[in-house]
């Protein structure tokens, strides 16, 4: 079935806010076999909202509307929808009762702005929003469905997962669709495509492979559509195994929604190993990635961010002679950083990064983007030289994700 998304709000049009909701919604819809075939953004302008909603209903069976709900701008979307369907707004007592209860729990007063949220187009079915004060609304008209949700990302996310997707699946039963994702790290899209060229060309039309690239990582997403869900799952399992077997073992980092940070954490936990980082040019970003995983305190002890060379000596024990003769961005320095981090942080495995993130600090010999990485334990150290070629922030991310991947490879080879 075709889905059209309408986003409401000046902030999305004039560039104050980047629309991340739509991509997330489209992915979730794809998972239930519904395809986003168009998207319209309108401002807080009544006549344009009505026109955009009408146009959207002419293009798709499902129209999802986000934004334009909430205490300060609650009217705009609801008035537009009421005009679209030719109905009045009516006061919804259950919504008011729920709101009053929420407010009394939070010890916040009821205001006119909040009370106005309880007025709904008369034909609305209310979708309870456990994450905020503005509920979602479901409308049916001539075999088509229009759903309106607040634009606050986690409220929208809640409503999509708990209210909208299950109802859409029931209302528009489509061909069963199943998918699975393989997380790869360390190789680019074109190298992976080379490995998978014949596999991809031989895929039947109901099996699709998508490449979703990110810094140092590519997700491979296989989707199977089939009348019979069991058969779809069998085909998916078979193709997924096949695809996996065609890739070099070392590039396969995980599956499903797993992140590289998560995959590394799981490996460390399985092996009962602790990790610490010694960072120069990444300035703590690698430690941040690792600690963004809930429960990372089980295996992550800490980091010494030695941005200044004096800290490399005093806190990591890098010899001043090494810094003077080889430079801070050198294989010798990252090797000594490893030793220092293991000793000072008392960890089993450590990872060290030193490089030139830019925009200044580069030389002919060591241009901006020159980055040394080392991973080691008490017995061995592996090093790698990267040449990044991006701006400061992306050089930092490039270095950190590659370092994370080196940790993964190091542990697997231990």
């Amino acid at each position: 079935v075709r889905v059209h998304i309408v986003t409401i709000g000046d902030e999305l049009l004039i560039g104050q806010v980047i629309d991340t909701n739509s991509a997330k919604m489209a992915q979730a819809l794809g998972d239930i076999g519904a395809q986003v075939t168009g998207r319209t953004a309108v401002g807080d302008e009544h006549s344009r909202i009505v026109a955009a909603l009408r146009h959207a209903l002419s293009l798709a069976q499902i129209v999802l509307v986000t934004g334009g709900l909430g205490p300060t701008k609650d009217d705009i979307t609801k008035k537009g929808i009421a005009e679209l369907f030719g109905v009045e707004l009516r006061f919804d007592q259950p919504t008011y009762d729920r709101l009053e209860k929420m407010l009394s729990l939070a010890k916040r007063p009821m205001t006119d702005a909040l009370r106005s949220q309880c007025w709904m187009p008369a034909n609305a079915m209310i979708l309870t929003n456990e994450m905020g004060t503005a509920p979602g609304m479901w409308f049916e008209d001539q075999g088509r469905v229009l759903v309106s949700m607040p634009g606050v990302p986690f409220e929208l996310d809640y409503l999509m997962r708990h209210e909208v997707l299950p109802r859409l699946q029931q209302r528009f039963p489509s061909l069963p669709i199943v998918h699975h994702t393989l997380l790869t790290a360390g190789e680019g899209e074109s190298v992976l495509a080379e490995h998978l060229k014949e596999f991809e060309e031989a895929l039947p039309p109901n099996v699709k492979l998508a490449y979703l690239p990110a810094i140092a990582r590519v997700r491979l997403r296989l989707t199977v559509t089939d009348e019979d869900r069991n058969r779809a799952q069998r085909i998916l399992d078979e193709k997924f195994q096949k695809m996996r077997s065609l890739l070099p073992e070392e590039v396969v980092a995980g599956a499903g929604d797993e992140s590289l940070e998560n995959a590394v954490g799981k490996l460390l936990e399985q092996r009962g190993l602790t990790l610490g980082t010694a960072e120069s040019c990444t300035g703590g970003y690698l430690a941040h990635l690792i600690t963004s995983v809930p429960g990372s305190s089980t295996y992550f002890r800490g980091s010494i961010v030695a941005y200044d060379n004096r800290i490399k000596s005093s806190q990591l024990g890098v010899q001043e002679r090494t810094l003077a003769e080889q430079g801070a961005v050198s294989e010798a320095t990252v090797k000594e950083m490893i030793e220092g981090a293991i000793a000072r942080l008392g960890v089993d495995v450590s990872v060290a990064i030193s490089g030139i993130a830019g925009p200044s600090g580069g030389t002919t010999e060591k241009p901006v983007g020159t980055i040394w990485i080392a991973v080691g334990d008490r017995k061995r150290v592996v090093t790698r030289l990267l040449r990044a070629n991006k701006d400061r922030l992306r050089n930092i991310q490039y270095a950190a994700f590659h370092a994370l991947n080196q940790v993964r490879l190091f542990i697997k080879q231990s």
Copy 2:
């Protein structure tokens, strides 16, 4: 003048790619007084592209089209535009010559895919793209302008700045528009709005104030439109000073495009002070924020990320008794972390954070989101208790930005 943006490409519809281009374009257009009043996203579907372009031209005087150009998908947009205007595609020799020269410099071969990029709708005026192989195209029709550009962000950015914006300014001379932004930190939108209520209500219709909120920060953007540019600038200067004077001195952190990271860096540089961080729950994110500023090595020495309590003791000298009796998340602990960081990192000022980022680890007494912050030098230490109420990642960001703001306030009061 009204602008409508049309984005072409399945990848933007199905959620593989988040549309960051549109926000950037809208901001740039706003700076020359052109207003984005609508946006449409279509997939790689010929009839929908033609319909969307026609609809866009009916809604706005300027239509900017992005995506659907480039070696692998070059035809789709150009065929759509040719049909829209009822013209043929013609081979553009100058574009071919330029392409050939580019390729020979890069030692890359000419391919059929690249050659196909030289076919253009007959009524196109070519906009040279110094950043890639697909040029932009400018069309005029019945007093309206349609511009097509590739969707690759830095190519689009180049074409917008060097070709499109100057031409649009010339073609649609609008009222001069000037703007300036004030960066505030530490107070929310509603508190600022309270201070500025009367000021805002008394603003003349040609002066607009926008609130752009982010974690722990709000940007206030004043825009003035006036026939006379000098007068516009005078009004802006006057209102900006007035606005600034109405806000408590401590919330004003910077102006223009300046970030809080930058503002803190500038302060440190001016005072000739060095900084180091001691982080627990933020896991290096604060150090990352600080080192995301180019040139931060002038004032930032490093960080000790003491995620594990053993590191708090061994690397920061926090007493085991303090940890046992007060807990890692306590005022006493962050105070000792300050002392340890100053001593170990040899810095003038240090900042320490210890808290419970979640989702687990909370207790009744210290729920998830309890965060202690301290900032200090050799003479004094200031502490603050935060109660964040978000998910793990946003608790981390909340803690780090508030800590950064505490550093700013500490230095200003020194």
